[in-house]
Symmetry: C2
Subunit: 255 residues, 2 copies
């Protein structure tokens, strides 16, 4: 089974979303979608005059930003993906972490940075997701999670994808896919031929220290390594148009 993380950017490019939905509809195996929505959240914040602060690919979330994030992620992005899958006969169901307490999180304590209403995932209700899949339902998950006190929290979608993959691996082997707007991890962001086909943890550390990995890629890679350390069968970063190709993108390996 695959857990596929897609960016909100996809939803702003309907032909790309339609192609991805076509590819997913052709797959014989079940899957879970986890999505972000940062692009729409940025556009919406800008239009509403709400300041956006993203540090190292993670969004500082005050009350106004939480409202925007919930509207963008749990609202438009989630339901647009659900509808695209439903149009192809996939019985998708859009859920956020708060729904049925599917994904609970802990508010990140204010340290050097006060992240505000941001939650780090504690627990994914894998049996509930397994029951949905067994009933022919394809979960489409937004990264709005629920704190222990019942507060809605904004979680990093890459972290949610990794946590979902790690929780589901107790039920079956999981391939975790992170979709990018590039063919994979590139040594030179401007040059697609500089793709790194296999990235070990040691090599990632080197590249990170050398400043060769750009900010939005860091949470994806951190979470990909976290997932394989947690026993997820494989983790790969690739362009959604390459989803049908098992050799495409950058495969993450411990060694």
């Amino acid at each position: 089974m695959i857990v596929i993380k897609i960016g909100g950017r996809l939803v702003e490019h309907p032909p790309l979303l339609e192609r991805l939905a076509d590819t997913l509809a052709r797959r014989p195996h079940p899957f879970i979608v986890v999505h972000g929505g940062g692009v729409l959240a940025d556009t919406l914040s800008l239009a509403l005059g709400i300041e956006t602060r993203v540090i190292g690919g993670r969004r500082v979330t005050d009350e106004a930003t939480l409202r925007v994030a919930v509207m963008a992620y749990a609202g438009w992005v989630n339901k647009t993906i659900v509808a695209a899958l439903q149009r192809r006969g996939i019985n998708a169901c859009g859920l956020s972490g708060c729904d049925g307490r599917l994904i609970t999180s802990t508010r990140r304590p204010a340290g050097e940075i006060d992240w505000g209403l941001v939650g780090d995932v504690d627990r994914v209700d894998a049996p509930a997701l397994a029951r949905l899949l067994a009933g022919g339902i394809t979960p489409v998950l937004s990264p709005i999670t629920l704190g222990a006190d019942g507060q809605l929290l904004n979680s990093n979608a890459d972290g949610v994808a990794a946590a979902v993959a790690a929780a589901m691996r107790e039920h079956q082997p999981i391939d975790l896919l992170f979709c990018l707007d590039k063919p994979g991890v590139l040594l030179d962001a401007a040059d697609p031929s500089s793709l790194i086909p296999r990235l070990t943890r040691a090599r990632y550390r080197e590249l990170h220290l050398a400043g060769a990995i750009h900010s939005g890629m860091i949470p994806k890679l951190d979470n990909a390594f976290k997932a394989i350390a947690a026993g997820v069968h494989s983790a790969r970063l690739l362009h959604p148009d390459d989803l049908g190709n098992p050799d495409a993108g950058t495969t993450i390996t411990e060694n």
Copy 2:
């Protein structure tokens, strides 16, 4: 069992939502929430420079308005209600009609008015709702529905509540409650003591013809009468603070 329709206005008044959630948490019986979100959709449209057209309590929905409606209804309003219930130990799950094809609709044909992306409810998957309830899950439903072609459509939340009540009555007797910002149907909107405790269909016709019923009340009353004609046990319009009082509000009766 009750099906309770609440307006989006409630979510903009946190103390009112908290009191309603307290009352619902004290109820021994299961319930389904259906909500609107017009107030937030209006505010958001205004802030984004999108024109709002509401005719007879129903919203004309172009592409930009649909996006706003999905963000407001399926996003912020839905998840805010879910979180308020979760804080009280009620295992709420927010769903829109598109999720698992729970509520399908037909796009309203353009006649005198072209309503745009507006859907009239065709079918509610009552067995799926019954399974959720049997599993201890409280459905919180937004009025974003799915057209036969997989298009997201904006449906009137009062109509969704009536359709959900009518579909669920095959499983058990249903009391349908419409929450208002008034104590019920008033003869004089400015005078709470002019409450009509019981409203028959004949009396409603008279008041409607006399222009005594204001625009937002019409879909609620039309849908309340439709629901009891479809065999729903009772329909009542009341203020959410009166939910614990079985005699409060306006009860709808055929004769």
